[in-house]
């Protein structure tokens, strides 16, 4: 078990290195293959109608004249050894892990990421609780009442939920519930939980429900399919033959087996989500990692992009490791080796 974890961690680390190289390549190397000069790259980070001198100075400052390997090396070095930032009137130390300074805002990336994590965590955890409860409950009931009105209604809704994008459902929900009925706060509302837990929940309610709706739809469909399959298994018949109450048969024997594959999906979904719920955060203007990522990409702010990609990738890698470990706990047939 321990060797397995160590081996997986080494693999995860190698994976992160590859991801960082690929990301770096997409933003630094590919444009150069396409013929972009250091000046052309720097021109993204200057103001309107900047003079060639300005562009040249900025390209120099951002190190675009260095060979790509040196630029990547500096980035990696910053993560492990820290870096320095010359803000004109002085030099600022950026201690490890230093993901560099934003080209646009001049802010160090790492504190920004730390600052935004609680927002995304709050969003992801709340939504996950809702969607797991709602999705699994609806899926189980639909499976047990296959073909009923409830089944057809919820599965129709679930199909809509899967196919409707969040920027659509999110926008509609804001217009109806926030601006129409006034039940929920307007977009852009967020209160940290340590400031006021009630307001925290109130502000996040609509994003939670919207995000949960999307996932609950998937989970309901999966749970339903899984339950239909599981409830036809021989061991369910055995459970009934023992004289178990139907409720126990469904929950203890049926659901137990159905949930195992769903757990895997949940781990990956949740890992992806805590790396940034991009659409939800953008739609509701929540200052989380997802919004940070989309702003970073929009402004092509390389250090920000690298930082947020690596953090998100770390979450996914760790989540999948935890899922694999949990899987071995949940399904005794699985051996880690």
């Amino acid at each position: 078990m321990l060797t397995y974890i160590i081996r997986r961690l080494i693999g995860a680390f190698a994976m992160l290195i590859v991801i960082s190289m690929v990301t770096f390549g997409i933003f630094y190397v590919v444009p150069q293959w396409a013929g972009a000069t250091p000046e052309a790259m720097a021109s993204r980070y200057v103001g309107r109608a900047a003079t060639p001198e300005t562009v040249h100075l900025v390209a120099e400052r951002l190190g675009f004249y260095d060979p790509v390997v040196v630029q990547y090396g500096n980035f990696v070095k910053g993560i492990f050894a820290g870096a320095q930032y010359d803000y004109g009137a002085g030099v600022e130390q950026c201690p490890a892990p230093c993901f560099g300074y934003s080209f646009i805002s001049g802010q160090p990336v790492w504190p920004d990421l730390l600052d935004r994590m609680p927002v995304t965590f709050s969003l992801a955890i709340g939504a996950a609780v809702l969607w797991v409860i709602a999705g699994v409950t609806v899926g189980v009931v639909s499976a047990l009442r296959r073909g009923s009105f409830f089944d057809r209604l919820t599965m129709g809704t679930a199909l809509a939920g899967v196919s409707l994008p969040i920027f659509f459902t999110g926008m509609i929900s804001l217009v109806v519930f926030s601006y129409g009925l006034g039940w929920t706060p307007p977009g852009g509302s967020y209160t940290p939980i340590d400031e006021n837990p009630a307001l925290w929940a109130y502000d996040l309610l609509l994003p939670w429900i919207t995000l949960a709706f999307l996932f609950a739809a998937t989970y309901a469909r999966l749970t339903r399919a899984g339950m239909l399959e599981t409830m036809g298994e021989d061991y369910i018949r055995t459970a009934r033959a023992k004289g178990l109450k139907e409720r126990q048969v469904v929950v203890k024997h049926g659901l137990r087996a159905t949930l195992t594959p769903i757990l895997t999906l949940f781990g990956i979904d949740f890992g992806l989500l805590i790396g940034g719920a991009i659409l939800t955060e953008t739609t509701y203007t929540l200052p989380g990692l997802g919004q940070y990522a989309i702003l970073a990409i929009r402004t092509q702010d390389m250090p920000q992009v690298m930082g947020v990609v690596l953090v998100a990738a770390t979450f996914v890698v760790v989540a999948s490791l935890i899922v694999d470990l949990l899987y071995a706990v949940v399904d005794p047939r699985v051996r880690l080796s």
Binding site: T238, A241, G243, H253, A257, V330, D331
Partner: protein, 341 residues
Amino acid sequence: MSFLDVKDLKIHFPTDDGIVKSVDGLSFGVERGKTLGIVGESGSGKSVTSLGILGLHKGGRARLSGEIWLDGEELIGASAEHVRRLRGKKMAMIFQDPLSSMHPYYTVGHQIIEAYRIHHDVSKQVARKHAIDMLGRVGIPEPARRVDSYPHEFSGGMRQRAMIAMALSCDPELLIADEPTTALDVTVQAQILDLMRDLQREFNSALIIITHDLGVVAELSDDILVMYGGKCVEYGTAEDVFYRPEHPYTWGLLGSMPRLDREPTERLMPIKGSPPSLINVPPGCAFHPRCPYAERTGDKARTEVPALTETAGGHLVRCHMSRDERHSLWENEIKPVLEIQ
């Protein structure tokens, strides 16, 4: 009235293509301490019969009629909750494939404990001790250690022993074993059958063994019921059915019995064709399309359903041929080939 008395049991399933008459007018009885073997090919309705007795036939869709009396109590028409309380306690079942019939995520012990505690208000410790005890009695070595094993960690034979332990954990008075040895290899089959015989004696329960293999029931059964197309075609004591079988289908079953003294692939008298569809049971005698002697009774075979008639004391046969005709066929044509002494 017997301990279990089934009268004119019909289990019909309405489907889009028509009504599936899985069981169509079946009557039989089993006493405590006695064993009934129900024999037939797959699709003859034998498994549905056993599930019907336990109330486990597929819920709302099935139409059940007739009578099932268990220890003087009518089960058809009883509340689902009442039947549930009887399940596992008064009547228990052993299934064909112990691997798929045990929950893969729970230990063997857990599953026995669960079965016990449904019907007994005892602590987990007491139930666990009982589970270890039961595992020991079905011949599992080191039961105190194996109680915490998962089903996949057991061999096939061990699993079936565990399954038996689970079924017997509440000391049921009626035990139904549905193809208990089919999934096992031959040497293990014999061990399991021995075990079941011993346990039955010990517990003095009524036992129904359901199988397609006459050989399995030969040693265990007191009575044998042969099913074909949802109906009983021959019913009698084991001796009657083995030594004086009168139905051509029973002859066929005897002929297709795998025997230790023959090559496994060699079948003496295989039955031609395949079992009938339970939606469109052939008119007349359901067996006539496959019966080598159907011509002897002319049109009757195709138009008239033969009645189940008593040929000797308690020996029932459903055939248009006369008793003499059947006797002479058996004595002169079948018995010599099968080399039954």
